[in-house]
C-alpha cells in the first residue's frame, strides 16, 4: 500500500470519502444494537410511546428484574449452554477422527468416501424427510436428538481434512518411529498442529449451536427442554397479547418492548464475550474452507 504523502489530491479526496462511507455503514450496523440496549433500560411507558432513540429514557432495570425472576428464562438459558457445550463436543468427536481418516492416502475408497460426504453439500432431502426420520428414530422432543442430529456437516469435515492434508508427512515420522498408532499420531501430532483450524470449527459450532432455533422449535415440545432462542421467540410472539402480562406491566415500569429488548441483550452478551476469540480465527477459517471437491 502506498504512503499517504504520495497520494495525489484526487486520491486523498477519494480515500477520505471512502473512509466516511465506511464510517456511516459501521454506525448503521451498530445502531440497532444500541437502540435495543437503550430500549431495554428505558421505562415501559417511554418505550411504548416510541421516545427511545439513542439513550435510555427514564432509565430503569425493571425489565431485567422481570426476566431474572422468570424461571423459564433461566431454564432455557441453561439448556442453551447444554446444547452448545454438548453439541460442540459431539461435533469434535465425529469431525476430528473422520477428517483424519479421510486425509490418509492409504485409506481405501478414499475418493468414494470424500464424494459420499461432499454430495450432501449439493443435495439434501429437505425438511420433511429429515423430520420424519427424526421421528422414526424416536428423537422427537429429545435433548440428545438435538445434540446428535446436527453434530456433523460436510463443510467442517472437508475444511479440517484439507488442513490435515497440508501437514507434511515428516511431522509424524518421529512419532511412528516410537511406535505410535494412528490414534496417537492424530492426538499428539495432527491435533496440536491444527489448532487454528480446530479452533475455527469449534467456534463455528459454538455459534451455530448458540443461535440454533428452527429445529429446536420444530423438534422440541416440552417447555423445559427449549433453548433460549425458542424462549425468546415465544416471548416476542406472546407477550403483547398476554392479559396477565398486560396487568403486570401497567403496575410495573416495563412493557413487552422493554422485556423483549432485555432478553435480546442477555442472549447477545455471551456472543459478544466469545466474539474477540472468534474474530481471531474466522477470517483464516473462511479461507481455509476454500472447499475443493
Amino acid at each position: 500500500m502506498m504512503k499517504w504523502n504520495l497520494y495525489s489530491r484526487g486520491d486523498k479526496i477519494f480515500a477520505i470519502a471512502v473512509s466516511v462511507l465506511i464510517g456511516m455503514f459501521t454506525v448503521a450496523t451498530l445502531y440497532p444494537f444500541i437502540y435495543i440496549a437503550a430500549v431495554s433500560f428505558s421505562s415501559g411507558f417511554a418505550a411504548q410511546s416510541g421516545k427511545v432513540v439513542f439513550m435510555p429514557i427514564d432509565a430503569t432495570i425493571e425489565a431485567y428484574g422481570y426476566i431474572i425472576n422468570d424461571p423459564k428464562f433461566w431454564r432455557s438459558y441453561g439448556n442453551t449452554f447444554i446444547y452448545t457445550i454438548g453439541g460442540t463436543i459431539m461435533s469434535m468427536l465425529f469431525i476430528i477422527p473422520g477428517a483424519y481418516a479421510l486425509s490418509r492416502p492409504q485409506l481405501k475408497g478414499r475418493r468414494f468416501f470424500n464424494l459420499f460426504i461432499a454430495f450432501t453439500m449439493w443435495f439434501n432431502a429437505g425438511l420433511i424427510p429429515f423430520f420424519l426420520n427424526m421421528r422414526d428414530l424416536g428423537l422427537l422432543d429429545s435433548m440428545f436428538g438435538i445434540i446428535i442430529a446436527f453434530a456433523v456437516n460436510a463443510f467442517n469435515i472437508i475444511l479440517l481434512r484439507n488442513f490435515f492434508e497440508a501437514i507434511p508427512q515428516s511431522f509424524e515420522e518421529a512419532a511412528r518411529m516410537d511406535g505410535a498408532n494412528d490414534f496417537q499420531v492424530l492426538w499428539k501430532v495432527y491435533v496440536p498442529l491444527s489448532k487454528p483450524a480446530i479452533a475455527t470449527i469449534t467456534l463455528f459450532c459454538i455459534v451455530s449451536r448458540w443461535n440454533g432455533f428452527f429445529w429446536a422449535m420444530v423438534l422440541l415440545q416440552s417447555e423445559e427442554k427449549i433453548p433460549l432462542q425458542v424462549f425468546l421467540r415465544h416471548t416476542i410472539a406472546n407477550l403483547s397479547d398476554n392479559d396477565e402480562f398486560a396487568i403486570l406491566q401497567t403496575a410495573a415500569g416495563f412493557s413487552a418492548e422493554t422485556v423483549t429488548a432485555a432478553i435480546i441483550v442477555c442472549s447477545i452478551i455471551p456472543v459478544l464475550i466469545v466474539y474477540p476469540f472468534i474474530q481471531k480465527y474466522f477470517e483464516k477459517g473462511i479461507l481455509l474452507g476454500g472447499v475443493k471437491e
Binding site: 455503514f25 416510541g50 424427510p129 425468546l232 466474539y275
Partner: protein, 333 residues
C-alpha cells in the same frame, strides 16, 4: 560358518526363496485377498475413525433421501415410508395446481432476485472500500463491527426488526413522525415485507461477506499497482483496471454459489417476520413446506414440494457452473 547369502533387503536368501515359492503356489486372487486382509489388519484404526462419521451421514442425511420417496406415495404415518402405496406424480400435479405453492415459488424467485441485485454487490463494494481505507486501526475497528451481525441469531435479528418497525414503539415510526407523517405498520403490509427482509439481510451479511473478497484483493500482485503508479494512474483507475479484474474469478465463484442458492431464501427469518397478512409477498417455498408439512401434517405433498425445490436448485447450480466454466474458465469443480 557358511557365508549367509542375503537379498537387497537383508533377508536370508532361503527364506526369500520359500516365500517366492509360496507366493507362486497361491492363486493370484488369494494374494489380493491376503494383501487386503493385511491392509485392514495394519490400518484398521483409520477405518474405525471413519466409521462413526459414515454411520452418521447414513442415518441423518442419506436415510432421509430414502424417505424422499414419499413424494411419490400416499404416505401414512401408520404404514411408514416403505409400505405406503405408490401414487406416481399425483402430488406434483396437486402442487402445480396449488395457487399457494405457485405463489411461493414466485415469491422465492422475487426475493432471491432482490437479494442478488442488492445483496450480492454489497459485500464486493464494501471490500473495495475497505481496501482504500489507509488508517489501519480505523479499518480494523470498522471490520470488527460490520462482521458482528453475522453471528447474531435470526430470532434476535427478527426481534430487533419487530421492535424497530413497531407502529407505536419503533424507532422507524418515531423518525417518520418527526416529518409529520402517519405511522405505518410495516410488518402487516405486504408491500413492505421484501424491502425490509432484503435490507435486513444486507445489514446482517454484507460485512461478513466482504471477507472473501478482501482475501482475493490481498492476493493481487503488488507489482501491478507499482507499475500503474509509474504510469500515473490514480486510485480510482487502479480499482477499476487492476483490483476488480483481478478478483473477478472470486466474484464469479460467489455468484455461482448465490445462483445455486436461489431457492434457499433464509426461511428461518421469513418464519420469524411474516404473518398471514403478508403471506402474499412473504411466503416462500420452504415456509410453505413448513406450514403444509410440519404444521398441517401433509407430509407427502410437502416432501414433493421439497423435492421439486432441491431439483431446481441442483439444476441451477449445475447450469451456473457449466456456463461459468465455458465462458470464464472459472468453476466450482
Amino acid at each position: 560358518m557358511a557365508e549367509e547369502h542375503t537379498t537387497a533387503a537383508g533377508q536370508p536368501i532361503q527364506e526369500a526363496v520359500i516365500e517366492a515359492q509360496e507366493a507362486q503356489r497361491m492363486p493370484p486372487n488369494d494374494g489380493r485377498w491376503t494383501r487386503l486382509f493385511d491392509h485392514f489388519k495394519r490400518e484398521w484404526q483409520i477405518y474405525a475413525m471413519l466409521l462413526p462419521t459414515i454411520i452418521w451421514f447414513l442415518v441423518f442425511l442419506y436415510k432421509p433421501m430414502y424417505g424422499l420417496q414419499i413424494a411419490f406415495k400416499d404416505y401414512s404415518i401408520f404404514r411408514g415410508v416403505a409400505n405406503s402405496p405408490w401414487i406416481g406424480l399425483e402430488h406434483f400435479q396437486t402442487l402445480f395446481s396449488n395457487d399457494q405453492f405457485l405463489r411461493a415459488i414466485g415469491n422465492t424467485i422475487k426475493i432471491s432476485a432482490l437479494n442478488l441485485i442488492f445483496g450480492f454487490p454489497a459485500p464486493i463494494i464494501l471490500a473495495l472500500m475497505f481496501n482504500e481505507v489507509l488508517h489501519a486501526s480505523y479499518k480494523r475497528t470498522a471490520q470488527t463491527i460490520v462482521y458482528l451481525p453475522h453471528f447474531i441469531s435470526s430470532v434476535i435479528i427478527a426481534g430487533i426488526v419487530i421492535t424497530a418497525f413497531s407502529p407505536t414503539a419503533g424507532i422507524v415510526n418515531t423518525i417518520i413522525g418527526w416529518f409529520g407523517l402517519d405511522p405505518v405498520y410495516f410488518l402487516t403490509q405486504p408491500q413492505w415485507f421484501r424491502p425490509i427482509f432484503v435490507g435486513t439481510g444486507i445489514w446482517q451479511e454484507a460485512g461478513f461477506g466482504s471477507i472473501v473478497f478482501l482475501a482475493a484483493i490481498a492476493g493481487v500482485n503488488p507489482s501491478l499497482y507499482e507499475s500503474a503508479v509509474v504510469d500515473g494512474a490514480n486510485r480510482w483507475q487502479m480499482m477499476w483496471k487492476i483490483t476488480i479484474p483481478s478478483i473477478l474469478p472470486t466474484i464469479l465463484i460467489m455468484l455461482i454459489i448465490r445462483i445455486g442458492n436461489v431457492m434457499e431464501v433464509s426461511f428461518e427469518l421469513v418464519i420469524l417476520l411474516y404473518q398471514p397478512a403478508t403471506y402474499e409477498t412473504a411466503d416462500v417455498v420452504n415456509t410453505w413446506i413448513y406450514r403444509q408439512g410440519l404444521q398441517s401434517g401433509q407430509y407427502d405433498l410437502a416432501a414433493a414440494g421439497g423435492l421439486f425445490n432441491a431439483f431446481v436448485a441442483f439444476v441451477l447450480v449445475m447450469t451456473a457452473n457449466t456456463l461459468s466454466r465455458r465462458y470464464s474458465r472459472t468453476s466450482l469443480w
